[in-house]
């Protein structure tokens, strides 16, 4: 057979498909250069940088407080968590202690934001698998309730700019207590609905089980973090293992996957919503009296030193490496974004899968381009 092909000059070519930068399932302006053999992915090269705004350079020309709104624009689905990571890094640099109420309010807000972010990720993942928009709308229906609360608190629905160095922007409104408790009850019912609609659906299982397996040692080697690492079976959560703020006072589990396939990544996120609800429930019950609004000077100098602070974001570990030379502005602000490392591992797990599966794996990694390109 090969002789005939050699004689006749028949040849089969690899097809190069440019997936993106505008494509329905690349979650923003990601450009994947795919080499396909039929429909099998032979190689995949991600090209990033289409959303590069040089946030790190901007940070060097702003005072510490002025950079808080820019952190909203990194991972725009987890803005509150970005705010939190940045203000914690600055507080660590300044050696600033905050009162317990501040930490409680921050915990409640950050966990609610994590739920909102995971809901978007579940919805878009189902969308990538071809469940036309229905799970997406269900998830957005629930997210809407969180976003409305945030809107009331800080006036923003996507970019919040809520955390302040030393505190938060405003106190929780008077009815927040009841609102959040109602939401917890509501969301627990809805998690059942997602399980019925998607998690154990036969088609969904056949599309996601054993697809895009990420081995734990590979995940650690690539510095993959967050739900993606936990889905590979590594029980690691910064909130649990190196607690910041008051996370050591709350009881919650760290859900992990067994195989590290796309289904595990989906399930870990779904379970994390439940765990976040637990944290919010405990925090709203135990919130101490006091003042949560920041009383720190708007302009201040940091001592010449450096700090590295990492927090558990919805997508993984967000790190801020702040270097100060004693001036009003940070000398260097490096943002270690989780999606960046989580995307870097993609080529090594999609080789040999077909295009549909590659879309499924990409959806399950849950990247946000704003954070990758910064």
């Amino acid at each position: 057979m090969t002789e005939i092909i050699a004689k006749e000059g028949l040849r089969s070519e690899e097809l190069i498909v440019n997936m993106g930068p505008q494509h329905p399932s690349t979650h923003g302006v990601l450009y994947l250069e795919l080499r396909l053999d039929g429909e099998i992915v032979v190689d995949c090269r991600p090209h990033i940088g289409y959303l590069h705004r040089s946030c790190e350079k901007i940070a060097e020309n702003r005072t510490y407080i002025q950079f808080v709104p820019f952190t909203d624009r990194l991972d725009y689905l987890g803005s509150m968590n970005n705010n939190l990571g940045y203000v914690l890094a600055v507080e660590k640099l300044l050696n600033l202690q905050v009162n317990a109420r501040v930490s409680y309010v921050r915990t409640i807000i950050a966990e609610l934001n994590r739920i909102a972010s995971h809901l978007v990720s579940l919805g878009t993942f189902a969308q990538d698998l071809g469940a036309y928009a229905t799970p997406m709308f269900y998830c957005f229906r629930d997210r809407e309730k969180i976003v409305e609360l945030f809107d009331e608190i800080c006036g923003g629905r996507l970019t919040y700019n809520y955390m302040r160095i030393g505190g938060v922007q405003t106190e929780l409104p008077a009815h927040a207590d009841k609102y959040i408790k109602d939401f917890i009850k509501y969301e627990r019912q809805k998690l059942q609905e997602y399980n019925e609609l998607l998690t154990y659906n036969a088609i969904f299982l056949s599309r996601t089980k054993k697809i895009g397996i990420l081995k734990p040692e590979v995940a650690i080697n690539y510095s993959v973090t967050g739900p993606m690492l936990r889905a590979s079976g590594v029980k690691w959560d910064v909130r649990k293992d190196e607690p910041y703020m008051l996370y050591d006072q709350f009881k919650f589990d760290v859900p992990i996957g067994k195989v590290g396939d796309s289904w595990d990544r989906f399930k870990v996120r779904l379970d994390e919503i439940g765990e976040s609800l637990k944290i919010v429930e405990q925090a709203i019950q135990g919130i101490p009296a006091g003042n949560a609004v920041a009383k720190v000077n708007k302009v201040f100098k940091a001592p010449p030193s450096e700090s590295y602070m990492r927090t558990e974001n919805p997508r993984g570990e967000l790190g801020f490496y702040l270097v100060s030379d004693g001036g009003l502005k940070p000398y260097r602000n490096k943002i270690r974004s989780p999606s960046f490392s989580n995307l870097a591992v993609l080529p090594s797990i999609v080789r040999g899968l077909n295009v549909s599966d590659m879309v499924c794996v990409l959806g399950s990694t849950d990247i946000v381009m704003g954070e990758i390109d910064r």
Binding site: G130, L198, S356
Partner: protein, 322 residues
């Protein structure tokens, strides 16, 4: 003196114009209805502005599409690219010739009616493949190839399930099949109920709907084979899609649910009720389930559906001979 031939021609012309009118109105209605159904499944309202509950939305969309620029992609194979929409639309319109809308309304009741429908709708795949090839777009090409593989595969179980009905009715004529169901719909018999399930699944794949919408898998291929089409050419693919949906549902209603038969109401009403009922079922499936993968779908057709259909055929034959 009236020439009998001219009477026949005149009645066929009138019937054809009624059918053509029905096709365009039905396609527009189905598009609006699908949008409303999907909206209510998803906690939305859907179109609400144009007309009562957005009922004139499809007309507004058609006007918009008519006015749109016709963009020919650079490097397209012009002839093939230009012909493809017609190859998709014309066969699906032709299939209406033998669909029995009512007791005494069918354009021409061919004695090989069901054979005619299944063979003429198979031509659609040619148009889809031409669209994929002619567009000079890799996504379109992949979509076209997937579509060809899919439609040809699912034709087999579809026809095998239809053969069971033909055996039961003893005729290929659509009206004949309906008359054979005078004392009970075919779906009430166990072997024909299985045939109906096979037919429904295969026909969902035939018209490229979820969970078998692989040729136009949005999250993978953009819009598949009709990515490069704009304006009225795109609308033709769209109309063909919904026309095909109506045809497979109408055929299902005819073959399994007794067609236009039913008490009290006019027969055309029963026919439309049954057809649109099956369409609603298909919409319900579409807005609930995720998509299967290409190889899973092919495996399902060849390794499961075809053997089951063959077995069903065998058992039905045994029942008849007994």
């Amino acid at each position: 003196m009236i020439d009998p031939l001219s009477v026949q021609v005149r009645s066929m012309v009138i019937n054809s114009s009624v059918i053509l009118g029905f096709i365009s109105i039905s396609a527009m209605f189905l598009i609006w209805w699908e949008r409303k159904v999907s909206a209510h499944i998803q906690n939305r309202l859907g179109p609400m502005i144009v007309g009562w509950h957005g009922s004139l939305q499809s007309i507004a969309d058609t006007v918009k599409l008519l006015l749109k620029e016709n963009i020919v992609p650079a490097g397209a194979d012009k002839m093939i690219w230009w012909l493809a929409p017609f190859f998709v639309v014309v066969p699906s319109v032709m299939a209406f010739v033998t669909i029995p809308f009512a007791r005494n309304f069918v354009v021409h009741d061919l004695n090989v009616g069901i054979l005619f429908i299944t063979s003429i709708t198979s031509v659609c795949v040619l148009g889809i493949f031409m669209a994929g090839w002619g567009s000079n777009n890799k996504y379109s090409l992949l979509g076209g190839m997937r579509s060809a593989a899919q439609i040809i595969s699912y034709e087999v179980p579809l026809l095998l399930s239809v053969v069971v009905v033909i055996m039961e009715a003893g005729t290929l004529s659509m009206q004949g099949i309906i008359q054979a169901q005078e004392h009970g719909w075919f779906i009430l018999k166990p072997n024909l109920a299985i045939a109906f399930v096979i037919y429904f699944i295969s026909s969902t794949a035939e018209v490229n709907r979820v969970p078998f919408d692989i040729p136009e898998a949005e999250s993978e291929l953009g819009a598949g084979y009709h990515t490069e089409y704009t304006g009225m050419k795109f609308a033709m693919f769209f109309v063909a899609e919904y026309t095909n949906l109506f045809i497979v549902s109408a055929v299902a209603a005819t073959l399994f649910l007794g067609g236009w038969q039913g008490p009290f109401l006019p027969s055309v009403f029963w026919f439309l009720l049954k057809s649109y009922g099956i369409i609603f079922l298909s919409m319900w499936v579409r807005w609930t389930l995720p998509r299967v993968r290409m190889d899973q779908m092919m495996g399902f057709a060849w390794k499961f559906l075809t053997p089951v259909a063959l077995l069903n055929l065998l058992i039905s034959g045994w029942f008849m001979l007994r």
